[in-house]
Each structure stands twice: as structure tokens, then as C-alpha cells.
């Protein structure tokens, strides 16, 4: 079983990297890009869990390590 974790900065937290990407897109002539937010995708191979247990375990991993919940939010997808 695979889990996919998306970690994004919380709304309202300034993202300097996303802002730089937005500027670069503008320089390349791409128009109509309002805002860019940059995050992370983390994939985990899991063994020995059913789907519900896997999701609970990965959420615990997010709280303890994978995300810094002071500034980041996360979603867990079991695939």
C-alpha cells in the first residue's frame, strides 16, 4: 500500500518561493497567474496495515515529523 502526503503552507503564511516562481512565470510571458504556492509531496510504501490503520498511522507521522503544523497543513491519500 502506498500513502501520498501533500504538505502545503497554511493559508496566510507568506511563501517566498512560490512568489519567486510566480515572478519567473511572469517573466516567461505566462499571464493570468494570480498566486503560486509551493509545497511537498511525500510518498510512503507501507506494509502490514489495512487502509484505515494506514491513514491513522500516516496522520500521526505528519503530526510528529512530516509537517510543521505551526506553518504547514497536510492531506493524506492512501493509494
Amino acid at each position: 500500500m502506498k500513502a501520498r502526503v501533500h504538505v502545503m503552507l497554511k493559508d496566510g503564511v507568506l511563501d517566498p518561493q512560490g512568489e519567486a516562481v510566480r515572478n519567473a512565470l511572469g517573466h516567461l510571458g505566462f499571464e493570468g497567474v494570480g498566486a503560486v504556492r509551493q509545497g511537498k509531496v511525500i510518498e510512503l510504501d507501507l506494509t502490514g496495515f489495512d487502509k484505515a490503520a494506514a491513514e491513522a498511522e500516516v496522520r500521526a507521522m505528519c503530526e510528529k515529523l512530516l509537517a510543521n503544523t505551526v506553518i504547514e497543513k497536510y492531506t493524506v491519500e492512501i493509494v
Binding site: 503564511v13 517566498p16 518561493q17 515529523l65 512530516l66 510543521n68 505551526v70 506553518i71
Partner: protein
């Protein structure tokens, strides 16, 4: 007076921090990150600058969950003194011992230069060698020193006089120009600037010496 300086893979200011403590009269024990306990009789822990664990995942994230990280957190929660400089500040924030988080500099660049700081409070063992409002010059060297904290947290820091240092000219976008913060019990200090790099004239400045002298002097007398 005995200080422990922790070394993680990627720490690169541990020798400088050790020297600063030694010059201020402390005995220093170096502690490797794989240790699970601190040596006996430690009065203060120094967490040095550098790029612990290659800054993987987030700056300080892996170090804060390392075996020695747990011992450091326990030491702080028992009321121990912990000084985190630069990457050490990031580690302390990741441990939850200090509020807020350190993000990528607003200008995205790594900045390495001396900066002017204002000492905002003399009410801590770290800052009592300075006068509140005093300006000092301490070098910074970081890419992720942009201190972020929510409005409620900021109000609390201000209300409790826990902002130790502010930048005179904000180099990295930090909220409220904050360069260093104290814990609620004022015994944990995290700061992005490097006081250990300015403790003797040969380093080009001595504005950091008072921090280490006050820390070791008070503890030696106690």
C-alpha cells in the same frame, strides 16, 4: 560551570560555540547526536549553527527528533538552560520549545553579513550583560531566518517581554523584525545571529562576548 554542545551531522559552528563557552570560563563537553542522554552535571546546552541532516525535510526537523533531541527537550522542560544559534534556533522551534517557525528568507538568498541588533530585554540570563535598547553588531549567515508567528503568538511574545533581539534593518522578512526569542521561563533562547562569532577582537568584533560571560558568570557563582 559546565556546558554541553551538541553536534549533529552537518553542524558546522559547534567548535566556535565551544570556544565561546570556554573563553567565558565554562567547561565544555561535546555531545554527539546519537547519544540518548546528556552527561551528568550540565548547566547549559548549546545547539550550534550549521545544516543539520542537510536541512532535509525542513531546517532542524530531523535533528529535533534525533535521540539526543529528546534529551535536550527533557532538559529544557525540567527548567534547563538551552541556547540555540541559527540552525540551533530552527531545531528549538521544531522541538516546540520556542514558538513560531523559521522560513525561507523573504529575498530567497542566503545572507552572510554582520547586522545591527537591538537588545530588547535585559531580563534574561543571556541578555543581562547588555542594556535594554542597546545596539550590538552580530553576524548572520542563513537562508531560512524569516521568523514567522501568528498574531496571537506575537502578542504573547510582546506582552511577556520575550523578544530578546530585533534587527535594526530587517534582512530576511522576519515578523516584527524578530532575531531572537525567549521561552516562557526565559531559560531557552533561540537566535538567528551568531554571537559565538564575535567574542574576541581577532574575529572582528566582541559584541557577543557579554552573552556568554553573563551566562557562565552567573552560573559559576550560583
Amino acid at each position: 560551570m559546565k556546558a554541553a554542545v551538541i553536534t549533529f551531522p552537518g553542524s558546522n559552528c559547534d567548535r566556535d560555540l565551544q570556544d565561546a563557552f570556554v573563553k567565558a570560563g565554562a567547561e565544555v563537553v561535546k555531545v554527539w547526536h546519537k547519544e540518548t542522554a546528556l552527561p551528568a552535571g550540565i548547566d547549559v546546552i548549546g545547539i550550534p549553527g550549521g545544516f543539520s541532516f542537510g536541512d532535509y525535510l525542513r531546517c532542524g526537523a530531523i535533528a529535533s527528533r534525533s535521540p539526543i533531541g529528546q534529551a535536550v527537550a527533557d532538559f529544557a522542560r525540567r527548567g534547563g538552560y538551552v541556547l540555540g544559534v541559527c540552525n540551533g534556533f530552527q531545531v528549538l522551534a521544531e522541538m516546540g520549545l520556542l514558538p513560531g517557525a523559521l522560513m525561507r528568507n523573504a529575498g530567497l538568498k542566503f545572507i552572510s553579513k554582520p547586522v545591527a541588533l537591538r537588545v530588547e530585554t535585559a531580563d534574561s540570563l543571556y541578555t543581562e550583560g547588555y542594556a535594554a535598547g542597546q545596539e550590538i553588531v552580530i553576524p548572520i549567515a542563513h537562508a531560512d531566518g524569516n521568523y514567522q508567528i501568528d498574531a496571537e503568538g506575537l502578542a504573547r511574545l510582546r506582552g511577556e517581554d520575550r523578544v530578546a533581539f530585533r534587527y535594526v534593518n530587517n534582512p530576511n522578512g522576519a515578523t516584527d523584525d524578530i532575531a531572537g526569542v525567549l521561552s516562557e521561563n526565559r531559560r531557552v533562547l533561540g537566535m538567528m545571529p551568531h554571537p559565538e562569532r564575535v567574542v574576541e577582537p581577532a574575529q572582528g568584533g566582541t559584541d557577543g562576548a557579554a552573552l556568554f560571560r553573563a551566562l557562565t558568570g552567573v552560573m559559576a557563582a550560583a
